[in-house]
């Protein structure tokens, strides 16, 4: 059963140095508050997994929390590059960053395999691409036992920790999210431990069309963090802060500007969103 704790407690309990951590949420419900708390608690040597790393991973990479990134697309949506990510790959600042690169469908299917307790997933994609040539341990050709066609196997993803943001949980720790959902359910089910930050804890969850429910027994920790997916959005709660994504670009381009951002916006703040 999920324990309802503060965000600072959840991160302290669930995330350890050297862990493989998946923070998911697609377009909306991106768990920024939790990412910031991981930076604040100065976790190191993390392997971060995410289909579409955007600002949240740019911040964690720049802050020196990350040793390796598993991803399929890394950018500032509608703006351009992730400059902390690029600086790490191209100039090893603040340290070297190892990459494991997959396609979108490969990443999604790797989570499904992990959540299903299967060792791999099968796709037609990857054949002929540079990814096959790079000898990544998570990609192998496989022959279909029925037709003989050569397909691609991608290994299951089973993170140590999955972190997602949702609109609501009830007081028993059952979680509900809706709108554009990504692979949050698969990420949580595939992971050893999980943290779900929510906009609010309510007495009862009422049905919503198309919602995803994570029963309390699938979740380790629920932490209330109102506004916890800003500057992305939470459908029904607040809109996406598009100006923030634009404003991030000059901060991320400059190491000193980024350090100042870390000092004022992260280390200068107590955990502000996850009060008990």
């Amino acid at each position: 059963m999920a324990e309802i704790v503060s965000l600072a407690e959840a991160v302290a309990l669930a995330v350890r140095d050297g862990d493989t951590v998946a923070m998911e949420g697609f377009t909306h419900l991106i768990p920024f508050a939790a990412g910031h708390e991981v930076i604040r608690q100065r976790r190191r040597d993390l392997t971060l997994v995410r289909m579409t790393p955007d600002l949240i991973y740019d911040q964690l990479i720049g802050a020196g929390c990350v040793r390796k990134l598993v991803f399929s697309w890394g950018g500032n949506p509608g703006v351009g590059s992730l400059h902390r990510f690029r600086d790490a790959v191209e100039h090893s600042w603040p340290g070297p960053l190892e990459l494991e690169e997959h396609s979108h469908a490969g990443m999604a299917n790797r989570y499904v395999a992990g959540a299903s307790g299967l060792p791999f997933a099968v796709l037609r994609g990857y054949a002929g691409t540079g990814l096959m040539a790079e000898g990544m341990a998570s990609v192998r050709p496989i022959t279909c036992p029925f037709t003989g066609e050569i397909l691609t196997a991608v290994s299951a993803l089973n993170p140590d920790v999955a972190i997602v943001h949702a609109q609501r949980a009830d007081t028993s720790g059952n979680v509900q999210l809706w709108g554009i959902t990504g692979v949050q359910k698969e990420a949580v089910l595939a992971a050893e431990r999980s943290i779900v930050t929510v906009e609010e804890v309510v007495p009862h969850l009422d049905p919503r069309p198309g919602s995803v429910v994570l029963p309390s027994w699938t979740v380790s920790y629920v932490a209330e963090a109102a506004g916890g997916s800003r500057p992305s959005y939470a459908l029904g709660y607040y809109e996406r802060d598009n100006d923030y994504y634009v404003a991030w670009d000059p901060i991320a381009r400059d190491r000193d500007a980024f350090r100042r951002w870390l000092d004022t916006e992260i280390f200068g703040m107590a955990e502000t969103m996850g009060g008990r």
Binding site: N109, G125, G128
Partner: protein, 255 residues
């Protein structure tokens, strides 16, 4: 809306129509436009000659093939979260128009990195959906800046595969592979040659063939008579200008 007084088409508007043409004859499949001009093209195709086309709103909605009663704006007719998009990719019922940081003469596309993958000079966005798209269903490309930096002899990393790599895979793995067209700010290109290398299909109005060749980093097949890319009709121009993009954001994609 139409008729005398309307100014002639801009380059961006010619590109919108050239992108729309990429989906002609595709029937009821999902159009995946990446970039504003391809998105306007897909929408234009859906509203004119390709009413069966399914067009995403870029998030998780499908746009109905009609205009909102209030004039500009859209009507959503369906819900297609990306989980379902993967199913449509695997089933082949999709045709995307992607961008490319590099594209070579066989249609291999790179959006991952410049230089060696293990130690890149420039880290780009990552392979994204290209490895699955290019082997499961038709893909086309939109290159707003036709240059030798983009159209290269050989890509540094193959994310979407071209005809040489598809041929090397052989049957049955390559049976769904097709690079349909490449639309640039100068021309339309395709791969209808015996060796499946890139061919100049048409130049945009006013663009000399020599300019296209000079801006391409490999030899192109050039027909004896190079057609000119078709101009938008008055009806298409009115749709683009009055309904689909009244703020003319399309012009900024070609700066």
């Amino acid at each position: 809306m139409t008729g005398p007084g309307m100014t002639g088409p801009t380059l961006a508007e010619i590109c919108v129509v050239a992108c729309a043409e990429a989906w002609r004859g595709d029937g009821a499949i999902l159009a995946g436009p990446m970039g504003l001009i391809p998105a306007l093209g897909a929408r234009l195709a859906q509203l004119t000659f390709a009413p069966d086309l399914l067009v995403s709103d870029g998030e998780a909605g499908l746009l109905a093939p009609l205009l909102a009663p209030s004039g500009s704006g859209t009507v959503t007719e369906g819900w297609l979260p990306y989980r379902s998009v993967f199913t449509m990719v695997a089933a082949g019922r999709r045709h995307v128009m992607m961008g490319a940081s590099q594209l070579d003469r066989f249609g291999n596309q790179n959006i991952s990195c410049i230089g060696d993958w293990a130690r890149p000079k420039a880290q780009l966005l990552g392979v994204r959906g290209a490895p699955g798209n290019s082997i499961n269903h038709p893909v086309s490309y939109w290159l707003p800046r036709h240059s030798r930096r983009v159209l290269v002899e050989r890509v540094d990393m193959a994310c979407g595969i071209g005809y040489d790599r598809a041929a090397a895979l052989g049957a049955p793995g390559n049976r769904f592979h097709e690079v349909r067209v490449v639309v640039t700010n100068l021309a339309v290109l395709d791969f209808r040659t015996p060796a499946r290398t890139m061919r100049l299909r048409s130049v945009h109005p006013g663009v000399p063939v020599g300019d296209v060749l000079a801006a391409t980093g490999f030899p192109l097949t050039v027909p004896d008579e190079v057609p000119v890319t078709r101009r938008p009709s008055a009806g298409e121009l009115a749709l683009i200008r009055d309904q689909l993009d009244p703020a003319a954001r399309r012009e900024r994609e070609l700066r």
